[in-house]
């Protein structure tokens, strides 16, 4: 999914204050010496209440429609999906509700999952979870009243899904209470198996949810039941709205009385979780750093990161694999329909400076392709070394090479002499606007005439970069966060020519390369993690070689928490502290 707006440190704050011996400025150091390390949570204390401070409300409590990282963080404590990521392994799925690894038929068209016994719904449903509940959970994703953003994307190949509107789907079969079988029209079972980490596969009791799903829109989210170690406090009928969830004010979680530790690997140390919604990040961050038992769910402001990094080093964690940032160049209109011009811009751009203005090495790694750390296929695409593309070889840029590409593009002087005025649209607010300006400067250094517009995030996507008819030449502040570890979720929607849409277009460069599209069609149908890693890794190299977009940063998302909190970060979800693994010291 497209990345939300993030904030990070301005240069001056970090690099002058921190000793260069740490090597924190300008080099891509590892995680040592830069904050807390990823904690597995083993051996934590039982008891206490974890309090989360957030200035933004959760968007959805319904596992069928949730997609934001805070929502996923909250749902991870209450919903058990077929498969899930352990906090410290964001790449390989582990069985959660499933009893064992996914069974994929050799032709890749059948996925069979055995479900554990002894998992029960929270009150008022109380009964044991069956495969029918998982089937209903996925089927309801196709119900217009639920309108899951993922159902058709990842379960669209299930037989009968194309005609699904919330009723039973032929391709989802439940031969017995603990077995669920997906019959697919194409060999995409590996992808579907991984897609089950999304909350959509968390079981939903049909007899309880159907009346709620009949309303438009569905109200299941306000009456949601849990299968995980915690549940939202609810009244006797299961209504959480007003008790467990007060919109804009709070969320309250208590232990799920029907959860049994033996059927789950989660330690579930804390007794209760309180989420306090409201206030401002600035104040909340300070309260977290100075207080006890608090976690900040917001992305901390640059001042907070600086303060934590300098004075509360053990209370800040920079989570790798936060997402990618790249500059999309419009390949359908001049001048960037010319590949050599694109490569010239890529060679000219100083990606190191782009990172420095965001705070230097702690905030991330210089990107050299589009799959980022934690995503399957990252190594196969070149890993940290890069794909070998010459125009991305030097993170600080390569002027001479840029000039050569300009000449190859037909501008012997090394500077653009055409009359085209370039419309660039970036994000308002530091440091994103600083990055946009660095990008604009690179273009101007090559002789382009530019007009830079800085706008709000939703406007940038909805009215400019995601709208082909707006005819924007470059969007330097776009980026992507994976839906799950499979590389298809990072590359397909973002670079497949078949996905170009007249509005809400996610393929911002509007790349429409037949060879790449064909490779993607084949890779979609590849079975097996290793094979997929190779296939998509190769596609990443191909996409990178077109220079349709210039990757410049792989994020590390900072998270802060109180001194007495043992935060176990979800490396698969922006480093949010996982409620079911974290504990109080």
């Amino acid at each position: 999914m497209p990345r939300p707006v993030k904030r990070a440190l301005p240069l001056a704050l970090l690099c002058t204050a921190v000793a260069t011996a740490l090597g924190a400025c300008g080099s891509s150091g590892g995680n040592s010496g830069t904050g807390a390390t990823a904690d597995t949570g083993a051996g934590g204390h039982r008891g206490g209440t974890l309090t989360i401070l957030t200035s933004q409300d959760v968007a959805s409590l319904d596992p069928g429609s949730a997609y934001a990282s805070l929502d996923l963080n909250v749902l991870a404590a209450t919903q058990r999906t077929l498969y899930a990521y352990k906090p410290t392994d964001p790449t390989n799925i582990s069985p959660d509700l499933a009893a064992g690894p996914p069974q994929i038929s050799p032709d890749g068209k059948t996925l069979t999952v055995k479900i554990r016994s002894g998992v029960r719904f929270s009150p008022p449903v109380n009964r044991e979870v069956t495969s029918r509940d998982v089937a209903y959970a996925i089927e309801r994703g196709f119900n217009p009243h639920v309108a899951s953003p993922y159902a058709s994307t990842y379960y669209g190949d299930v037989v009968g899904a194309d005609r699904a509107t919330g009723g039973p789907i032929a391709g989802i079969q439940t031969p017995d209470d603990h077995t669920i079988v997906f019959k697919l029209s194409r060999p995409t079972a590996s992808l579907v198996a991984q897609a089950t980490v999304l909350p959509l596969s968390a079981p939903v009791p049909p007899e309880y949810a159907k009346p709620l799903d009949a309303k438009a829109p569905s109200t299941y989210g306000n009456h949601v039941v849990a299968t995980g170690p915690y549940m939202l406090t609810a009244d006797r009928s299961g209504t959480v709205l007003g008790t467990g969830y007060v919109p804009g004010r709070s969320l309250s979680f208590v232990r799920n009385p029907n959860w049994s530790a033996t059927s789950d690997g989660r330690p579930a140390y804390v007794d209760a979780i309180q989420v306090r919604i409201g206030g401002s990040t600035t104040v909340a961050g300070r309260q977290v750093l100075a207080g006890r038992g608090l976690v900040l769910a917001d992305s901390p402001t640059p001042e907070l990161v600086k303060q934590a990094y300098l004075h509360n080093r053990s209370q800040i964690f920079f989570s790798p694999g936060g997402g990618s940032n790249y500059a999309a160049l419009n390949t359908t209109i001049p001048p960037f329909d010319n590949a050599n011009l694109r490569k010239a811009v890529a060679a000219e751009l100083d990606r190191q400076q782009m990172r420095t203005v965001r705070g230097g090495a702690v905030v991330g790694d210089i990107a050299s392709h589009f799959l980022y750390p934690g995503v399957i296929g990252f190594e196969q695409a070149g890993g940290e070394q890069g794909t070998g593309a010459d125009f991305l070889a030097n993170p600080a840029g390569d002027r001479a090479l840029a000039a050569r590409y300009m000449k190859a593009a037909g501008y012997p002087s090394g500077r653009y002499t055409g009359g085209q005025m370039l419309q660039i649209v970036g994000l308002a607010g530091a440091p994103d606007s600083n990055d946009a300006q660095i990008f604009e400067q690179a273009l101007q250094d090559l002789g382009f005439k530019t007009n830079l517009k800085l706008v709000d995030s939703s406007v940038m996507y909805a009215r400019f970069c995601g709208l082909p008819k707006a005819r924007v030449q470059a969007c330097p502040n776009v980026g992507w966060i994976r839906d799950f570890a499979d590389p298809q979720t990072v590359l397909d929607v973002a670079f497949n020519g078949n996905d170009i849409a007249p509005e809400n277009n996610p393929n911002w460069p509007q790349l429409n390369d037949t060879a790449i599209d064909d490779a993607m069609s084949r890779a979609e149908l590849t079975v097996g993690t290793q094979a997929r890693a190779s296939a998509w890794g190769a596609i990443d190299r191909q996409i990178t070689a077109t220079a349709a977009a210039i990757p410049w940063l792989w994020d590390r998302q900072p998270n802060i928490f109180s001194a007495d909190v043992r935060c176990v970060p979800e490396l698969w979800n922006q480093g949010h502290c996982d409620f079911a693994y974290s504990s109080l010291k």
Partner: protein, 312 residues
């Protein structure tokens, strides 16, 4: 009264038009996420009723409001708008009324004293303080207040910090303590303005003939200043306070954000972020109601305070 209803109708129509005509976020898109297919987007629009023609949507809203007292349901949380407003109103009322008391208690003596002792250090101090109060942004002032006095992050932990608000019915002591800093911060700008305003009025009034008459009657200077002078000078302040109360009851979003007070202002702000149209409409109409009522009260109050107006 009738005029008030017409005004409310106009406000609701204007809010409706602004939301759809001017560029803002699309609630369906926010719900669906950015990589949702057009088909999914359409499904969400249908279930929210957003695909119907605009006049039809507006008509439905108005008829529900007028005939069923139904303000609709939040696109974001599904909670009824009425329940959200009722939930948030006590905090806003607490914040507003407390701040009014504080700023009047500060402004009236300061205004009178700086007028009576014009040019002395008291006057200069008041003027300087007023300048500070007016120029300091409320948000910044709130942050400074917290960084100095909040018991969790302040340098001199004295008073409860952000997020400590509890409803009066839960714990009156904690309710009061949690509102002290917000009251002071919110009152600061108003106190400054009102003190200066009163000072100006008092200087004028004290040079009026009837003040001379009062002195000629041999009244004590204190009685002359407070009963004769202030009585005449305070009328514009009272009407202004009435209007300001009406405005503040619509929500003081900056103060509510800094101190994490769950009021109408923050509700409105969150609704705008989420493109939660029914809640936006609800908060705007509520705010408009307060302003209209405040205007009526002020008119009545003015006639009560100044008998000359009654004749007219």
């Amino acid at each position: 009264m009738l005029w008030g209803i017409v005004l409310l109708a106009l406000v609701s129509l204007l809010t409706f038009v602004i939301f759809y005509v001017l560029p803002s976020a699309d609630p369906a898109q926010l719900r669906a996420g950015r990589d949702a297919s057009p088909a999914t987007l359409h499904q969400i629009r249908v279930s929210l009723g957003l695909n119907r023609p605009l006049p039809a949507q507006y008509w439905t809203y108005v008829t529900h409001l007028v005939f069923h007292a139904d303000l609709g349901y939040s696109y974001f949380s599904g909670a009824s708008v009425g329940s959200l407003l009722i939930d948030r109103l006590p905090a806003t009322i607490s914040l507003t009324l407390g701040a009014v008391v504080v700023w009047l208690l500060v402004a009236v003596p300061l205004g009178v004293i700086s007028a009576v002792r014009r040019g002395t250090w008291v006057d200069k101090l008041t003027t300087g303080g007023a300048l500070l109060g007016v120029s300091a942004p409320v948000y910044w002032l709130g942050l400074v207040a917290l960084y100095l006095f909040a018991d969790d992050i302040g340098k001199w932990p004295l008073l409860p910090g952000a997020g400590s608000y509890v409803p009066f019915t839960d714990n009156p002591g904690k309710w009061f303590a949690s509102l002290i800093l917000p009251w002071l911060v919110l009152a600061s700008t108003f106190a400054a303005v009102y003190a200066r305003l009163l000072r100006g009025n008092m200087i004028e009034v004290l040079s009026e003939d009837y003040v001379r008459t009062a002195r000629a009657k041999g009244l004590s200077e204190r009685r002359v200043v407070w009963r004769h002078g202030l009585r005449a000078a305070v009328t514009p302040l009272v009407t202004l306070a009435g209007l300001d109360i009406g405005l503040l009851l619509g929500g003081a979003v900056l103060t509510e954000t800094v101190f994490d007070i769950p009021g109408i202002g923050r509700l409105n702000y969150d609704a705008i972020i989420h493109a939660d149209y029914p809640v936006i409409q609800g908060t705007v109409l509520l705010a408009a109601c307060f302003v209209i009522v405040a205007n009526i009260v002020v008119d009545v109050g003015y006639a009560y305070l100044d008998p000359r107006v009654r004749a007219a």
